[in-house]
Subunit: 464 residues, 2 copies
């Protein structure tokens, strides 16, 4: 325990140096989506390689086939468990620079926060884990557990090379648990553990009828209109209550347990404030579920885009030759994306019949992820967050999809701990992204404590 | 009868002069949609004013508020009935000139036809009526009936000023029947009388939900998706058989009479060739009606355009803030556009409920038109066409909408005779528009004969 407290003290004593290096990394415009930043991608990867090398990690930069990934490991503790820290050093494009109060890649400190692109997502948050291992190294010359880092440069463009990278390096990346600091806190000062993310099936349906747009007067009523049929297809996918009607869709969905329902209710989610934030005229969705339950624990189906015929000003009287829709489904644990995808295709073709030609393209297929709530890792994470932030964390799910989580589970056999420190309104993909220094330090302390918890320095070892 | 045959002979004897003047008018690029052609619009109107003036008509160019209209009248026969010839001297834009085999405004004679923009629609067809009055004037110094001309310059842009022009000049335009040569023959060599056109209700429905596009993962399942609701709205407008479900929609639709059903069946419409022409995989529509019945005699509802969310390549996982559809309905006789419009709005608002905000814009509202089949004018027209083309005309309807027909009926109390001479594939709005000289001359002869028929020179006078 002595070393833990020393390490925590070390983090606080190094506050200015930690901020300085955080600003240094944010200054590198490592925008993965823009080819002109290739040199900056390499620079950010090298910066991390050198930084971790100074703490005794074996580091290398690994060619992923796209932007490089940084691999680092310090695994000299026989019999100790191994934590893999996953993060990403690439950032979103800054967008319109005029909307920033300070330049996105000239980070500024004000109001107790660092402002800049990547300040939180994910440079700031991943550096909390780096700060934690540095602190252990400084005060005891070793780490409580074996630690590996996998820091990629393509998260903001959908991690196209990461699954194959993990598969081809599964021995090098072998671990007991994965630590990811790339989600947000629940609200200011209330850190969160995200234990579930949704899966995804993304489809594009294109219906074609006549060879070219037809005059709706001269030819109306004699052949099917692809845009009308498309509306029929979409409407057939849900019933009047908003439940998805694709056969088998809910077969593998588990009803929400009493404990989890109570846990979500305890979050006292403010539906009025939420609705005001979104700006819709009403909340809506499956009956019998609270808004938060629908958002996090129920599968959904949404049209993401529609396109057909004349979209300009005023009127054009045509039967469009084609109509298309982008439709995505978010899946919850136990749902099988492959089965949902096949059933979706069958429904679409059945509704279309022989009236129009249907082409169905798949733009995404991803499993949901759910971390066990009763694992020793979860207990360790709760205690570490409570120590770092001075209050109990909340356990939440996320409606979005993190494709890498099921990959870690399936390829490495490891569950993920998603610890969120930055505020949910931190402008992660917008102008004026920020991360409070206080939360950054609490995150670093959480990291210090988590390594100790995982090593069994408090209570029974998690190895059971 | 002597004068009728002289007038017909006169038409044939003047063939080359008629073609020359036809080419002269086609050379004037009177494109109503393009402001740079304002001078050409005036030139075409003046050309027609002078031409009719030479046949003893009182002519004037009338400011419509937009492009000018040509008014002409020769009404010196007390007790004789009055025919109003309606036509238009404006033309569609030529489009891509590279698709034309000869320049659109340098008309060429080949394969027995005149090729050029407006060769048929409507310069060529309106000139058949001019040739007919000229022939009567030349051989007898007078016309068999009183004749007026109303030649407008805005038909191709929707005749925005014509209804008010007719209303404000109803005494000047007073007539017993309106002759319009602006439709097509049924097929080559088979002239047609079009006795019915459909009405129109054109709507744009815009649904808005969240204030801006939302992440479909983070927020899906909690508020209504405007694009999903739009699909529901559209799908709710028709049943599984393709019948429109808007309350009251069919209340005023008359069942097809046995005589008309037999008349349509006698046309021996080639459904296989029609389907091949359109390129759709199948014919479709209300059960219990033939394809031609659906096309001409049944009301329809078609989506003309759809727009929502992400329409680019690949995937974007958003709940769109807005979704919109352009939806038009074609109405058949007795249906009331105002009532249909109001019922449509009620259905849309009912399906939307309070989940989304609905804005409904109207882009068009027009009554259907149906000429009585047993009128004396109809008999006169049938006989005239039979004489002009050497075979019985067929009686057809049109699925499209001619807004001016109900205006003539309601304001002037006059029915319309729609006589079509040019071929249905004459490329009226496309490249290489043409009109066969043989059909042009047959049309002029039809006009000569029609004036005689209307004057009662054959059989009992149509005045009864």
């Amino acid at each position: 325990m002595h070393h833990v407290e020393q390490a925590i003290e070390y983090v606080h004593s190094r506050k200015q140096a930690l901020i300085d290096s955080w600003l240094e990394l944010v200054r590198v415009p490592s925008v993965s989506a823009q080819p002109e930043h290739a040199g900056d991608m390499a620079a950010a990867a090298q910066w991390l390689e050198q930084r971790l090398g100074r703490s005794g990690f074996d580091c290398r930069i690994c060619d992923s086939g796209g932007h490089p990934a940084v691999f680092a490991g310090r695994c000299n503790l026989d019999g100790a468990l191994t934590v893999l820290v996953y993060g990403h050093y690439d950032v979103q494009p800054p967008g319109d620079q005029r909307l920033w109060d300070s330049p996105p890649f000239k980070p500024a400190v004000r109001d107790g926060a660092v402002f800049g692109r990547g300040a939180a997502d994910d440079k700031g948050q991943l550096l909390t884990a780096v700060a934690a291992v540095e602190a252990w190294q400084a005060v005891s010359g070793e780490l409580p557990v074996n630690v590996k880092f996998l820091l990629e440069g393509e998260e903001e463009i959908g991690s196209p090379h990461l699954p194959s990278l993990v598969e081809s390096h599964q021995n090098e990346l072998a671990c007991d648990v994965v630590l990811i600091c790339d989600t947000a806190a629940f609200k200011p000062g209330v850190p969160a553990i995200t234990y579930g993310t949704k899966g995804l099936v993304y489809k594009e349906v294109t219906l074609t009828g006549p060879a070219k747009d037809l005059h709706s007067g001269s030819f109306g009523g004699t052949v099917a209109n692809p845009a009308n049929v498309l509306a029929e297809v979409i409407a057939s996918l849900k019933d009047a209550d908003g439940r998805v009607t694709i056969p088998g869709f809910y077969d593998d969905v588990q009803p929400l347990g009493e404990a989890e329902r109570a846990s979500l209710a305890a979050l006292r989610f403010d539906e009025v404030a939420y609705l005001a934030q979104l700006g819709s005229p009403a909340l809506a969705g499956e009956p019998g579920c609270s808004t938060l339950e629908r958002r996090w624990t129920r599968p959904t189906l949404d049209v993401n885009g529609l396109s057909a015929g004349y979209q300009g000003q005023g009127a054009s009287t045509i039967i469009p030759a084609r109509a298309s829709a982008k439709i995505s489904m978010r899946l919850v644990p136990r749902q099988d994306p492959e089965a949902v995808s096949a059933s979706f295709n069958r429904v679409v073709r059945q509704v279309c019949g022989d009236r129009v030609r249907a082409q169905i393209t798949e733009h995404g297929l991803c499993r949901p992820y759910m971390a066990p709530l009763d694992s020793p890792w979860m207990g360790a994470a709760r205690r570490a967050l409570a120590a770092g932030f001075g209050r109990e964390p909340v356990l939440i799910r996320e409606g979005g999809t993190l494709p890498i989580l099921p990959v870690f589970k399936e390829v490495l056999g490891a569950d993920c701990l998603l610890l969120g420190y930055c505020r949910p309104d931190c402008n992660a993909h917008g102008p004026n992204e920020f991360f409070h220094i206080e939360d950054f330090l609490a995150g670093a302390v959480t990291g210090v404590r988590l390594l100790a918890e995982l090593a069994g320095l408090y209570g029974p070892t998690v190895r059971g």
